[in-house]
């Protein structure tokens, strides 16, 4: 208990860094995923080709290598030093964004052709079709996978101690070296990672539920908050009148 009291502030500092990396990486990944995912469904082959190159390059390279590149190689080449936090967010965002772009592309392509035809019959422009019809419908489909990706992203932040960032994992390692309390040192990190993940999962399920409600799908067992602790059943449709 004394150990916990003494070390907790350091852990919370580390956890805060982990949260910042996760949220920063997620925002960047989201923007990239949307941008490249939408480009991946474009009519012009050049836009689709750009998406393919981005996805294949950043999906194929470990985020850690990209991070090393930003933190060590680029300063060597150009003389500019990147802030390690910024470099880490960039590397994580580029990596997870590549996975996300594929999720977005698949979700957009899964919107029924008939929906697109209805927008043509109403003479909507490409942009209006995307904004009013296709993206809102694809959104519900993207969210479950986005939920997995943000958890993956959060766990992937654990490598940033290798570029000198004092995240949750780095704190745990330091505490262990400093105190010799291996079990407690990693036990606390274990619990904190778990708590962060639970908050993220909870938030994603809330978003999912809202997205499904907008499409007229309601969870079969009602909408109580406790239901968010269970995984939602995707695509359940009830209450369709005949």
């Amino acid at each position: 208990m004394e150990f916990l009291q003494a070390q907790l502030p350091r852990y919370l500092d580390g956890a805060w860094i982990t949260i910042q990396l996760t949220l920063g990486g997620a925002i960047l990944a989201f923007v990239l995923a949307m941008l490249f995912g939408i480009m991946g469904t474009a009519r012009f082959w050049i836009l689709r080709a750009i998406t393919t190159v981005y996805v294949e390059v950043f999906r194929g390279i470990a985020a850690l290598v990209v991070m090393f590149w930003f933190v060590f190689a680029i300063p060597d080449m150009s003389g500019y030093e990147l802030d390690p936090m910024f470099a880490a967010i960039l590397a994580l965002g580029l990596n997870v964004g590549a996975y996300g772009a594929e999720v977005v592309r698949a979700a957009l392509n899964a919107v029924p052709r008939a929906q697109v035809e209805a927008t043509i019959a109403l003479n909507l422009s490409w942009f209006q079709r995307m904004r009013l019809v296709v993206l809102p419908q694809a959104w519900a489909q993207m969210l479950p996978t986005f939920g997995n990706l943000i958890i993956e992203l959060m766990k992937a932040t654990a490598v940033v101690y290798l570029v000198g960032i004092l995240d949750l994992t780095a704190v745990a390692r330091e505490v262990r070296t400093g105190t010799g309390e291996t079990i407690a040192a990693f036990g606390i990190a274990f619990v904190l990672y778990y708590l962060i993940a639970q908050v993220l999962i909870f938030g994603m399920r809330l978003l999912e539920r809202r997205a499904n409600a907008r499409l007229g799908r309601t969870p079969p067992s009602g909408g109580g908050l406790m239901n968010l602790l269970r995984p939602p059943s995707v695509g359940t449709r009830v209450g369709v009148a005949k």
Binding site: A121, L122, N123, L124, W126, L215, R237, A241
Partner: protein, 281 residues
Amino acid sequence: MSPSDTPENTTAPGGGNSGEAPAEGPLIVFDQVVKRFGDLTVLDHLDFSVAHGERVTLIGPSGSGKTTILRLLMTLEKVTEGHIWIDGEPFSHMPRGNGLVPAGETYLRMKRKRIGMVFQQFNLFPNMSVRKNIMEAPVHVLGVSKDEAAQKAEELLDLVGLGDKIDAHPTQLSGGQQQRVAIARALAMSPEILLLDEVTSALDPELVTGVLDVLREVAENTDITMLCVTHEMGFARDVSHRVLMFDQGRIAEEGHPDQIFGDPRQERTKSFLKSVLENGH
């Protein structure tokens, strides 16, 4: 409009873009239109025209090309050969230099403003309320104010008998109700040409009447030109000025509904009508 107003099969304006169409010329002209999907020829050098305000029903066995005609007019498909003209102006193609080239997206957006379509599967947007389904296109495409669009949505929903469903979600409606909302949505864009693609085929029999009643009302009270693909022969007889019987991508027979249904001349038409009647439509 009496059936005698129906124009004869007007010769379509040939290639080139010279010479202005007469003011009272046909509204829609198919000029030697060919549509192929791979090796399959769906429309085979088709010529036909539709007058302003005319209501034409297209009948024929499935695969005879009727739906393809509507889809070409809605620009959901492109012609393989030939041209489509609307009001004397090229529609499937656009003028460039001295000739015509396949129409680009910008040109199509300008031209298809006049055309609306109702689909077999309704295709309402599940991410919007009934109100939004009807309002969004007038607001975003025509630039109508939100208040005006909302008021029009209410009027149209009253017209189709669903005034109380304005805040409902499409999934809360029956198929027949969804289709009536889809009709209201198409009408909200004030189309001059309305395309109806087997609009009752996906409905349970007891819901068909409500949808057809709405369309009868639209036919009676507006001068919208209608092209209608249907197996509802009674409806076709009531509302259309002319019936076209399609077979294998060509018009097998055409005429006034009383003649086509009462005294079909072609064997193909007779056997088709017989099979439809036997299937209980």
